[in-house]
């Protein structure tokens, strides 16, 4: 198993969605919207990801009126920290990518 700090697309978008309390179906729709239909979270994948994120303490169950029928989740402090760290990593990738591809070809 590789020790990787990179978040998968699915996880990144799930975390972004949970900056506001949301339930599973809402997350799925939100992610599809974020990615213009490119990322279609499947139910099984979403379930696994939510459980992993709960275990890591990056999200927590949220109790709202809606959640009596459907479980809702929200991001935690450590979840936000993970997202911010990921943004830094992604910016590094983009910067280097643009430098190499956008500039002179060696």
């Amino acid at each position: 198993m590789q020790e990787s700090i990179a978040l998968t697309e699915a996880v990144f978008y799930i975390l972004l969605s949970l900056y506001q309390p949301m339930h599973g179906y809402g997350i799925m729709q939100n992610v599809a919207q974020f990615s213009n239909g490119r990322v279609n979270l499947a139910a099984g994948t979403l379930y696994g990801a939510l459980n992993t994120l709960l275990e890591k303490g990056w999200i927590r169950p949220e109790h709202t009126e809606e959640s009596i029928r459907k479980k809702e989740y929200a991001i935690t402090q450590s979840g936000r920290a993970a997202v911010e760290a990921e943004l830094v990593r992604l910016q590094e990738l983009i910067a280097n990518g643009r430098k190499v591809v956008g500039g002179k070809r060696i």
Partner: protein, 191 residues
């Protein structure tokens, strides 16, 4: 109108089974109940539902399975039925596209679960087969040594059947092993 069809799909043929269920749906027959090798269909709109099936980690009665099935239902997925650890889901085709897994890791985990089940079945059949054949050999030996026992062929028959089953499952599971290897290689390149 209900139609009951009896059909055998082995452990390793779950994708074939899923395709068949979706083909039936396209013809207007929607699966509504499942038993051991028994499929109950109801006539309905052509292509009304998309069917998916998977092998759970635990039996459907286990709290983890119950939580998973409940989550699925919250997502608008119907639980059609289960046999042992296999669950059958369906979702209206008019909804968003229905797949169980959209990422490689989950798919790999599912295939590993199936591969493990196949390996257990192969292993048990091998062990039981060998034990039976040893018992049969023992029978021959004791007669050779002059004991007044009769020839008992039960063990040789059972043992041979077990070994044959072990080999059969091993061969049938090959596509699963190959897909698993391919996915694991892909995993090293991208998610």
């Amino acid at each position: 109108m209900k139609h009951t069809i009896y059909k055998v799909f082995t452990v390793a043929e779950f994708e074939k089974e899923e395709n068949w269920l979706n083909e039936m749906s396209a013809k207007g027959l929607q699966l509504t109940d499942i038993g051991f090798c028994r499929y109950v269909f109801e006539e309905g709109i052509h292509g009304e539902y998309v069917y998916r099936l998977e092998l759970l980690e635990n039996m459907p009665t286990h709290p983890e399975s119950i939580a998973y099935i409940r989550f699925m239902e919250e997502m608008g997925v119907e639980h059609v039925g289960s046999i042992l650890r296999w669950v059958y889901f369906r979702k209206k085709a008019s909804d968003t596209p229905f797949d169980l897994y959209s990422d490689l890791d989950s798919r790999i985990r599912h295939f590993r679960r199936i591969n493990l089940l196949c390996n257990w079945l192969i292993g048990i059949n091998l062990v039981v087969g060998v034990i039976n054949l040893l018992l049969f050999a023992g029978n021959i030996m004791s007669r050779y040594m002059g004991a007044a026992t009769g020839m008992h062929y039960t063990n040789s028959v059972v043992g041979s059947v077990n070994l044959a089953i072990a080999v059969l499952i091993f061969v049938l599971a090959r596509p699963i092993r190959m897909r698993l290897k391919k996915m694991q290689k892909e995993n090293a390149v991208r998610e």
